[in-house]
Symmetry: C2
Subunit: 257 residues, 2 copies
DNA sequence: CCATATATTTCGGCG
DNA sequence: CGCCGAAGTATATGG
């Protein structure tokens, strides 16, 4: 892998390193004292402080403070990023046309300037969210209840799309609202609204909230609306042909019991 | 500012640098070839590739690929982060108890290992969002319409909180739904639901969606529901005592006209 | 390109 | 600590 890293470069050198990195479509990482301004979807300013600035090869641009997972300021992928020397400072700018917005980082002192051109063709394999739940329910409907038969996914109503529509063993229409995480009152209200859209129908319609768990408020509300709750965790298995040799996941399993 | 950065350190040295950084409550930045596993709220795995790994002083832990603004894997602030040497690899782990989750980064080859202990006591000043709109409306209600008088913010209803409640010059009750960005049909539906909660009242109640703009669908829906739309941009002024000497914002203003 | 829905959302605020 | 709501949300997907 190609990379370059220099400590305490002067402005001229920092400027060279950043431009070299940008022109090589590398990932540029700079640790520096800087001020930051943003104008676009909102507007912000940030006084001088030590931060990490990163510009990725796709135009992602972010400024990280010492705390928080999220960058304090950023510019999304495909932003137009450039560096200029001006008035004895380095000015990094990232901008977009639509929506019109601009991020400006004024570098006062650089501690580390670096870039790297790494190889990474791996995609993340992720499991355990709502779509996985839906797949699982269509594959093994009995996990909802014995005799349940799903018919339609993303059934349209005037208020939105019903996650899963089906019938129970007695032929009653059943509306499922899926949540991959603990469900709150909003999930219950949403399910209620879907059912209200079925109120034209003379037939009885069941509404079931399917989620790992619900908040107390949500449970009360379910009761009040005569709706049901089916506890169900999203599946956590990866594709069959993909095995993980590390003992990481089995160990994690231990910690959770 | 204190910092340390080394190129191509061996595992032992990488291990030392990371631990030094962690113990000093510094921000640790490592560029390395690594594999990543996560198990907790969801579950994921990522094969070997070159990435940037950062651990902040508050326990924020992230792994960045060459593209995308968001880290491919992460662990939120207050995570318990540590490094161990095992089987000729360095294993970085970040974990939490609640919710139970664990992120593991196995480092195969380190290109740059570094940490820095930067000073940054500056808070971001941000303007142009929903709360600013509400403040502005209470300060100068006439921007909604002549004679409008707001009375309550976050007025509770059975379906949620009304952003702003007030009366017009004729004494009609007015419900405002605020959006700092372009409003879609969901904003309209929400406003409609709030109004329906007022349907017990015999008096006429107006509903106004206040936002910079609306989608075409939303505009149609407003018409159908006999609701109104008031175009209003969130204010973009900073607190009065805070001035920005840079010409950044005025320049941006130019680009937008 | 616009609009919708999900997210390991994160983050702040309140109880 | 859990819940709720907003976000410059980001990101994928469908029209």
């Amino acid at each position: 892998m190609k990379f370059l890293s220099e400590e305490n470069p002067d402005h001229q050198r920092t400027f060279e390193i950043i431009n070299e990195g940008l022109s090589k479509k590398a990932v540029v990482v700079v640790v520096a004292c800087c001020t930051v301004n943003y104008d676009g979807r909102a507007r912000s300013k940030l006084g001088a402080g030590d931060r990490m600035v990163m510009i990725k090869s796709d135009g992602s641009f972010m400024v990280h403070q010492n705390i928080n997972l999220e960058p304090v300021n950023w510019q999304p992928p495909k932003s137009n990023c450039s560096a200029v020397l001006k008035d004895g400072n380095i000015i990094l700018e990232g901008s977009r046309r639509s929506p019109p917005e601009r991020l400006q980082v004024v570098i006062h002192k650089t501690y580390v300037a670096s870039y790297y051109n790494g190889k990474d063709n791996k995609d993340l394999e992720l499991t355990g969210y709502e779509e996985n739940m839906r797949e699982m329910i269509f594959k093994t409907p009995d996990i909802i209840e014995e005799g349940f038969r799903p018919s339609t996914k993303e059934y349209p109503t005037s208020t939105g799309f019903i996650d899963v529509l089906g019938k129970d063993k007695n032929g009653n229409v059943v509306v499922l609202e899926l949540k991959s995480r603990r469900a709150g009152i909003n999930a219950v209200k949403q399910l209620k609204r879907y059912l209200d859209d079925f109120s034209d129908h003379k037939e009885f319609v069941r509404g079931i909230l399917v989620a790992p768990s619900v908040t107390d408020d949500a449970a009360e509300l379910l009761e009040g609306f005569k709706l049901e709750f089916k506890p169900l965790d999203p599946p956590r298995e990866f594709g069959a042909d993909k095995n993980l040799t590390l003992d990481f996941f089995s160990k994690t399993q231990d910690t959770k019991t």
